[in-house]
Structures are given as C-alpha cells and as structure tokens.
Amino acid sequence: MNGVINMLNVIDVANYFLKKDKNGELFNTRPMTRNGRTFYEGNARLNKYLHIAQNVWIAKTGQKLIDVDFYAYDNGSVALDVQENYQMLLKNISKATQINFPKCQKEFLDRIYIALRSADVDELIDIDHEDIEWADKNKNYTKEKQKMDCLRLKEQYKVQYANFIWALDRMDVNDE
C-alpha cells in the first residue's frame, strides 16, 4: 500500500461489520455492566472492532483507516456516532447500502472480523485498555478531554501490534 489511501466513513465500516454477523450473535443487545457502566455487549464489541482496526491500520500504514475520533470511555474507546446510534444502526441494517470498499481495506476489515470473532467482550476491553492513548485520555473527566489522537502513537503501535500484524497478514481465512 503506497501513497495516501482515502479514509472510510465510520458508519459505513460499522454497517460492514454488522452485516457480517448474520445471526446477530456478536452484535447483540445483551446488557452487561463493567466498571460501573451498563451497556449493550454488541455495542462495546462493535466499537472495539472499530478502534482496534484503526490502530492496527495505523501501525501498518501510518495513516488512519477511518475518518473518526475515538473517545476514551471507561470500557474502552468509542466512536460516538456509532456508540450513540447503535440500536438504530442494528434496526436499519437490512436497509443499509453495501458500500464497496477498496480491495486492500476490505480484505483488512475481513481479517479483523475473523481475528476478533472469538474474543469475548472482556478481552476486547482489556486489549483496548492496553492502548496508552486510551489510558492517558481516560484519566480526564469531560467528554471533550477524553477525545483521543490515534496518530500520536503510531510508532508505538508499530511495536505494540507487530505480532498481530505478522499473523494477520499470513492468516488463512479459510482455516476455521
């Protein structure tokens, strides 16, 4: 991948992941409570997929995958347009237009989906909490001060996600 690659729209990427979950098992409306907050398990999962995809793409390319700012909420990073509209997105998923992403980004998102499918939400939250940018911004109180800068630590992410990227690039997507 050379040169600047256009960033994707966060709702388009969210819908892309939601559409893959044909039986609604992953992106569900089961409530769970962690760190004093109650939320939908599927909403937490979706936002972690988006954030992990963003960070890993930054580690690979030095650029953002998705045109979005994440916020350092207590149970990991969230994209507000997705987190605050989760129920609506779920309800309307069958009507959502399938966007054709560029091949390299589509394949990357497919691999991320497969790689994270078996992780439970607690593990996804733990992984997200290992992001220094999340740890720094989560210390703040107001929502605005919890806004994260994903590009600030791109050199750190190259090291942090090196093992995952090595394996992701070699993953046999047919090996279940």
Partner: protein, 153 residues
C-alpha cells in the same frame, strides 16, 4: 538429585491444566523444556500454540508499561523447523512446572529441538517477561507426576 533423561530445548507433547481454576486442554500441545531443575526434580516448560484465526487475538495483548508482549512468535520457516508444522507462538505470561520422572520421555516424540537462534530468542524473551512482569498466581501451575499421567492417559 535426579539425572534427567529429557533436556532443555526438547519438546513434550502433553495435555496440561492451564491454570489453577482448572481449565484443561482438550488436545496435546507441544511444550518446550525451558529449565531442568535437578535438585527439585521439576521441569519448567513453555507452551507453543499454532497460530489460527481463533487464537490470533492473543497476539494483540501488550504490556505497555514494560513494553513487552506476552506472546512470542515462532515461524515455522526460515529455517524450516522439524518440531512444529505451522507458524506458532509461545505464551510467556504463565509459569508451568511439572514433576520430572523416569518415563516422562515417553511424551517426547524425538530429541529434536527448535533451530538454535529461535530457541535462544524465545528463552531470552521468556526470561525478560518474567523479570519485568508479575505472573498471575492463577497462571503459576505445578503438575505432579500423578496429575500429568491422569491427564494424558
């Protein structure tokens, strides 16, 4: 004091109890012998898992304060390994010790080891991880001869 038949770097293929809350592997995994403690007749071993879509998520974990990953990748090629058949990874954030006994060599397929450079790199990373990070007590597992034989009938 026991003269061990098995040596550092050799591989045992065994089913193990993964933690002290009782999770047990369904299949045999390769475990590399990291240390032979002759005085106490125990072996310290490191688990290898082949990299699959369902476990690749484990490679995302990272200890940002110490700058260490709890996993170490062992590629099957460059050079081509004889003791693993797929790209694999070692989980560093646990401590498995098993009783050493005459007969444990039956769990060894042969005396082959990983290629030297990969083996030494793995051991160095394991030592570094254990120097820098606490190992959760639930992951400090000791298996007696009786338990090992029971798990591996």
């Amino acid at each position: 004091m026991m003269n061990s038949i098995v040596r550092v770097g050799e591989i045992l293929h065994i089913k193990m109890r993964f933690n002290n809350t009782g999770a047990i592997s369904k299949t045999r995994h390769p475990y590399i012998i990291f240390k032979v403690d002759g005085k106490n007749s125990v072996l310290e071993i490191i688990q290898l898992d082949s990299i699959k879509p369902k476990n690749i998520k484990r490679l995302l974990h990272y200890k940002t304060r110490s700058g260490i990953s709890p996993t170490f990748i062992v590629p099957v090629s460059n050079p081509q390994e004889t003791v693993i058949c797929k790209d694999s990874f070692a989980q560093l954030d646990n401590k498995f010790t098993i009783e050493n006994f005459v007969g444990i060599e039956k769990f060894r397929r042969d005396t082959d080891k990983l290629s030297d450079k990969k083996l030494q790199s793995l051991f160095a990373k394991y030592k570094e991880y254990h120097r820098q990070e606490f190992i959760d007590e639930n992951k400090q597992v000791y298996i007696t001869k009786e338990e090992l034989l029971s798990l591996n009938r």
